[in-house]
Structures are given as C-alpha cells and as structure tokens.
C-alpha cells in the first residue's frame, strides 16, 4: 500500500487528526501564554513588562476568538457542535472544551479587557464622532462612571479576575494536553507529563508571540521600544523555555530508560519519519538555538540593536519550534500503528477542507484581529492621543494600580 511501511491495522491508513488539529493546541497555547505574560504585571507586579500588558491581553483575545475554528472545520458534522454544550458527556475530556473556552473567554479575558479599558472607552466615547462614537458607546455597556473611586473598584475586580485567570489559563491549555495525555491506546501521547509540557510550551510560545508583536507594533507606529521591557520578557522566555525543555527531555529520558513495548517503534519513527520535524526543527532549530541565543544574553550584555535582533530571532525560532512540537505530538502520534508493527504517512493537501490553505487563513486571522483590536483599543498612549487621550511619555500599560 502506498505510504505504508510494515503492518498497520487496515483502518489506520487514513490519519484522523489533520493539520487543523495541530493548529488547535498551537493557538490555545498562544492564548494561555500571552495571558500568563499579562498576569506577570498585574498579579506578580513585574513592572518592567507593563508596556506589553494590554497588548498581551488583546493578543490572547485575538487567538482565543480563532481557537474553535480549526475544530469546527475539522468536524464531520459541524452543525452538531452545539451538542457539546447541550448534552455534554461528562466522562469525556473533550466535552469540557466548550465550558473551559466560554469560561475563559467570557469570565476571564473579556471581563479583564473591559475593566482595563473602561476608562479609555468612556473617554473615547466622548471624544470621537460618528460610528466610532457608537462603537465606544456600546462598549461602555452603560457604565460611564470613571471617578477615582470607580476606577479603584475596577482595579480591585480586575486583580481578582487575573488571579482567577491564571489557573484558568493553566486549565485551558493543561486540559488540551490532557486530551492527548489521557489516551492510553497511544503511547506517544499517553503520559501524565503531557498537560504540564503543553502548559510550559504554551507559556513559551505566548511570550515569544507577544514579544514579536510588540516589536512589530512599535516598528509600525514608529515608537521607541522599551528595552527594559524587552530584556525582561526575554529573561522570562528563557526561564520558561528551560523548564519546558527540561520537561520534554525528562519525558524522552523516561521513555528511553523504561523502553517499554512501544519504544522501538517510536524510536524508529523519530529516527525516520519524524527526524526532520522533531529532531531538526523542534529540538535543534526551535529549542536549542533560541535557548542558546537567550542564554548568551543572560551572560553578556550586547548593544541594543544586537539584542533586538537576537530577541526577535529567538522568538521567531521559538514560535516555529513550538509549532513543530504540536505537529510532532498530533501528527507523530498517528504515524505509527497501534500494532507497533508499521507506519503510515501524512501528506498535507493544499486547497482541501483540512488543507494548507485554510490553515494559513486560520493563522493569519488572529493577526488581523489583533491589528483591529489595537486600532479600536489602543494599548499605548501615543495611539490614544489621536483620539484625545492624554499624551504620556511612557506607554499606558496596565491600569492605574
């Protein structure tokens, strides 16, 4: 049979979870990571990352809005997806998706963004005209009291929401890891480390994404980069990446040392079909190289221009590496037979329902959304000044706490 080596069960020829299912954990990971970066400022009082606080929230929202789309496109019967809310099967890890998603979207992210921006929205509703005024008026939700007392209440609630938001972000992506980690039929997936690895890789990718977006927006707006902020984000990216890489190596070491029934099959797969995406792309280019770049920055001080270039390179490589990790988990887990006696192949189609074209579209969409959101809800004072907001030298950052 073409594309098949050795023996696989006859129903295994076709891969069930495609490129779109690779996107799903990648996108939710970016959401969780971006939110956790935002919470650094709000809960852990890391003032240095303040310039990215609002951007991180808007990034998280943009990706969260797109997160269910690959799943929806993948379903054989997308018109029945509402059944997950109406008649969820309580023993299913996947049935939780709808609830975790809604909780995160409605209770955590939208509420936090609204509270953070409420005073700005009220000001914009008064200073703009025409349809913009209408939009901002709607966004105030009728709450136009921006007295210092009211803002204090906002800040207090916002703090509580963030505190709830951190475990929620952990839940959102840890649960995605659990969907894979709890499949005992698949030894490539079945490990209790999976949710933890997913979580840390999510943080890594989310932090890298915000760093890239921050640099891109500053460049586009011709605003100066806050180097202290950039250095701090790079430092946190390095720390989380070290934890993430250690966990992945622990998983690898455990598998190699234990060498259970599946080991020979998986080992062969990594050395053949997954060599490119796993060893070259994920481990070498997507992990070791950015880790090395970030590590040298912890040891030596380079010029601003060099640091910028290095951080950008490291972040882009990280984003590629984490994407490769998702690919290797989702696709790699379906390339070998559950008989452990053979392998199948996955070829990405181009213009098909689950092909490359819709995948590219789904990856571009959050960036379009974030551009619109940044326009609508300016995260920085410079942008706000055009709408009559008070001009500040420093970026507005997170709230008035």
């Amino acid at each position: 049979m073409p594309g098949v080596d050795g023996f696989i069960y006859p129903n295994e020829v076709e891969l069930q979870w495609s490129l779109l299912i690779v996107l799903y954990p990648y996108i939710t990971g970016l959401v969780a990571g971006a939110f956790i970066l935002a919470s650094l400022e709000r809960v852990f009082k890391v003032e240095a990352v303040k310039p990215t606080y609002r951007l991180a929230l808007l990034t998280a929202l943009s990706f969260l809005l797109v997160a269910p789309l690959p799943l929806q496109l993948h379903l054989g019967h997308p018109e029945r997806s509402l059944e997950m809310y109406l008649t969820p099967h309580r023993s299913s890890a996947m049935a939780m998706f709808g609830f975790v998603y809604l909780w995160y979207l409605m209770v955590v992210l939208l509420l936090e963004i609204w509270l953070e921006y409420r005073a700005d929205i009220v000001r914009l509703a008064q200073s703009t005209h025409g349809w913009q005024r209408m939009v901002y008026k709607l966004l105030t939700l009728g709450s136009e009291n921006v007295s210092p007392e009211a803002r204090q209440v906002d800040d207090r609630i916002s703090y509580i929401v963030t505190v709830i938001g951190i475990p929620s972000a952990f839940l959102l992506h840890g649960y995605v890891g659990f969907i894979f980690g709890s499949i005992k039929a698949n030894p490539w997936w079945s490990t209790p480390l999976m949710p933890v690895v997913f979580l840390f890789s999510a943080m890594v990718s989310g932090i890298a994404a915000v760093l890239v977006l921050y640099m891109a927006f500053m460049k586009a707006k011709r605003m100066p980069l806050d180097m202290n902020c950039l250095d701090t984000i790079a430092k946190y990216l390095f720390y989380t990446f070290v934890i993430d890489f250690s966990l992945e190596m622990l998983d690898l070491l455990h598998r190699t040392y234990e060498a259970d029934e599946s080991f020979r099959t998986l080992d062969f797969m990594v050395h053949t079909r997954l060599w490119g995406p796993h060893v070259i792309l994920q481990i070498c280019c997507g992990t070791l190289l950015p880790l090395a770049i970030l590590a040298v920055n912890q040891l030596w001080r380079f010029s601003e221009a060099r640091r910028k270039a290095m951080y950008l390179t490291a972040s882009l490589l990280t984003l590629i590496g984490i994407f490769a990790m998702r690919w290797n988990v989702v696709i790699g887990g379906q390339l070998f037979s559950k008989s452990f006696l053979g392998y199948t192949t996955y070829k990405v189609e181009f213009a098909a329902k689950e092909g490359l074209l819709p995948a590219i579209g789904l990856m571009v969409l959050p960036f379009i959304i974030v551009i619109v959101l940044v326009k609508l809800l300016p995260p920085w004072a410079e942008a706000g000044a055009r709408h009559g907001l008070p001009v500040q030298a420093a970026p507005l950052g997170g709230g008035e706490n």
Binding site: F7, I8, Y9, P10, N11, E12, V13, E14, Q16, W17, L71, H74, L75, G76, H77, P78, R80, S81, E83, M84, T87, P88, H89, S91, S92, A93, M94, A95, F97, I179, S182, I183, K184, A185, N186, Q334, S337, K338, S339, F340, L341
Partner: protein, 246 residues
C-alpha cells in the same frame, strides 16, 4: 336476500379494504421492534474466536461488508495473517482486510496462523469514555454502538480505540464500527460473519444465557483477549492466542 350487482361490489370492496388493513396490521405487528420477544436486560453479547479453526478464507469479511454496506477500504471486521519466526518480529499482513483470502505462505517453516479481528465490545470502552456527546455508548445488552444521528465526527473515539476498529464513514461523516450485527442478533439471528464462517471459528455468545455453550468453552479452554493490559474488559475471547498478536 336479493343482492344487486352494485351491493355486491360494495361488500366486495369493503372486504378488500378490511383484508388489506388486516394484512397491513399483521405486517406492522410482525415488523414491530423486538421489544416483546427480545429483552435487552436478558443478554450480554460477546464473541469467541478459535484461531486454530480460522483458515483465512475471508468469508466473514465479505459477509460483513455486504450485510452492513461497509464502504470500500474500511473494515468492521478483518483477518490478519501472522507469520512468526523465532526471535524475530512477526510478519503480519492483511491485504484488503483479508477479504479475498490469502495466497499460500512463502515459507513453510514459520509458525503461521490467522487472527480475525472486530470490535471487542469492551464493557469498559475507552471509545465510549471519550465521546464528547455520548453518541457512542454500550447498549444494556453489551454492544458498543454509535448513534449516527448524534455523532459529531470529531474522531476522538477512533484515537481512543486501542484495536483500530473504528473509522469515519466517508459519506455519512460519522464514525462507524462493528455493531455485532445488532439488527440481526436482536431478532434471534447470529452475526453475518459468524453465519458465514465455514469452520465455525467465530461464534456469537451470550454471557447471560446459562445454556450458551460459551460457559463450557471458557471452562475448558485457555482464552485471552487482545491487549489485556489495556483493561478494557473486552468481550471477544480468543482461544490459544499467541503472544505475538497485537
């Protein structure tokens, strides 16, 4: 009594209507669900497979395919041929699911045998556990079924099945699998695969029926389920299953 020709036609017509209504009623009664004759609580279905009796003819695969309109390239049941050489990884093949039988083995000196496979009708099914909407379920008489009017086509159950027994139906876009010929067994028939097995290698069994030969079979034979370490409480038992079978 004088009957005009008109009256005769009238009575005849009425009789015809009554007779056809009666026939229709009888037909409806006859086709009524097996609720009266068949009580789900009285059964607990499974299968026993005697590997030594399987000759790899593929009759079961063909019968299943025809009975259940299984789409080409997908299998509710299939037959694997194992050829095992001492100290080496077994050589396994299942061309077209064994549907057309097998060419003679190239080497006579190898341990060779056939293994029919189907859904193991697990009592503790990983596929049922993961379904996000409960579209797949274990029926009260122990058969794992899929409600195709409810299945989302997310394919999580396919990933969760350790035995590769499920597939996405290409036209229906819902998950499909062996139903143990539920439409037949609830009418007192056996499955299409068992009925067409020329050697009796596969036998439908009812664990709740005290008179079922399965009890005698289990008492006198060494049996095993596939991948027992998966702890799925599979109800398809294999007699003298070789350790190399996956």
């Amino acid at each position: 009594m004088d009957l005009s020709r008109r009256d005769l036609f009238k009575i005849g017509g009425k009789l015809l209507v009554l007779a056809s209504a009666g026939a229709t009623l009888e037909e409806i009664m006859g086709a009524a669900p097996p609720s009266e004759a068949y009580r789900v609580a009285d059964h607990w279905w499974g299968m026993i497979i005697d590997i030594d009796k399987c000759i790899g003819c593929g009759s079961c695969v063909r019968a299943c395919s025809q009975e259940n309109h299984v789409p080409d390239g997908y299998f509710r049941t299939w037959v694997e041929r194992y050829q095992v050489e001492e100290g080496k990884q077994p050589q396994v093949d299942s061309p077209k699911g064994g549907m057309d039988g097998y060419a003679p083995a190239t080497r006579e000196d190898l341990k060779s045998f056939f293994v029919p496979k189907l859904c193991n009708q697990c009592a503790s099914s990983p596929c049922v556990q993961v379904c996000p909407v409960g579209a797949t379920f274990v029926s009260p008489d122990g058969v794992v079924l899929v409600d195709e009017t409810y299945c989302l086509g997310c394919r999580y159950c396919i990933q969760a099945c350790p035995y590769g027994c499920r597939y996405l139906h290409p036209e229906k876009q819902t998950v499909d699998k062996c139903t143990l010929c539920y439409h037949r067994i609830t009418k007192g028939l056996t499955t299409a695969c068992c009925e067409n097995c020329p050697t009796g290698a596969r036998q439908l069994v009812d664990f709740k029926d005290p008179k079922d030969p399965v009890h005698e079979f289990l008492r006198h034979n060494k049996v095993e389920v596939l991948k027992p370490y998966m702890a799925t409480q599979a109800k398809v038992y294999y007699k003298d299953l070789d350790g190399s079978v996956r």
